[in-house]
Amino acid sequence: MDQEFSLTSQLRDRRLVITTSGYVNNTGGQAIATEFDRHFAQGVREVIINLAGSKVVNSVGMSFLLEILEKLQDAGGAMVFTNLDPAVDKMLTIMGIFSIAGKAATVDDAIKKLS
């Protein structure tokens, strides 16, 4: 399986959708955080992380998402995860992330959740 990390992002009604593909390690996590920071500086406060193409992640990569969550919490923002592999879902559950972030089946569902 190809695990080379890449991401795409788009804005949908001032909501940032980051879609990843491949292994979310420290490099992938940093790339997500950098993309977030670019939009956060411009006032974006709602973020959807679409992990549909990332079946392998590690806790170091996920730790970058905690940095994003910290900034969003301080700014009154919100984050929703979508298209989670069941194992990644369990990992984030163990970390307690869903106590401060949302979860949805698809990006469209996430947008409805944030509306």
């Binding site: 399986m1 695990q3 079946k55 590690n58 919490q73 069941p86 194992a87 990992m91 970390m95 401060i100």
Partner: protein, 139 residues
């Protein structure tokens, strides 16, 4: 088909080398007819164990990590060994999200994840290295 298959590999310390082990895990599972979705949590366990091992291996490509999988259709044993100077597992704090969000380091989840996602987890650390043994049921 019930006899275990074993894969033993020595990984050099190069970026993302844990993916070699993850790929090997997938091939063993396919050989035994284990569905992809059954090994999702095992992928995370393997990844976390290897990352943890390299963190304690002392650094450099001269500090390899040995990984061994023993898999049957019903369970998987993951053994990961490094040759670092060891550490005291009891000194590792149980990470709490609220604390992590207060600033400072966000890392330190590996041991908690391995313990929580496995059916049995054992860590033995000594001055000649650390050995992690994880059992994961696949049914």
């Amino acid at each position: 088909m019930n006899s275990p298959v074993v894969l033993k590999i020595e990984l050099p310390n190069v970026p993302d080398i844990e993916l070699v082990a993850v790929e090997g895990l997938g091939r063993l599972a396919r050989h035994l007819g284990i569905p992809e979705e059954k090994i999702g949590e095992a992928r995370i366990l393997v990844t976390e164990a290897i990352i943890n091992a390299f963190e304690h291996a002392g650094g450099g490509s001269a500090s390899p990590v040995v990984v061994e999988f023993t898999m049957t259709p019903s369970d998987l044993v993951i053994f990961v060994r490094d040759f670092g100077k060891g550490f005291d597992p009891s000194s590792v704090e149980n990470p709490q999200l609220a604390e992590k969000l207060k600033g400072g380091g966000k890392r330190g989840w590996g041991l908690k994840l391995m313990e929580s996602m496995s059916d049995d987890f054992r860590i033995d650390s000594a001055p000649d290295g650390t050995r992690i043994t994880i059992r994961k049921m696949l049914r």
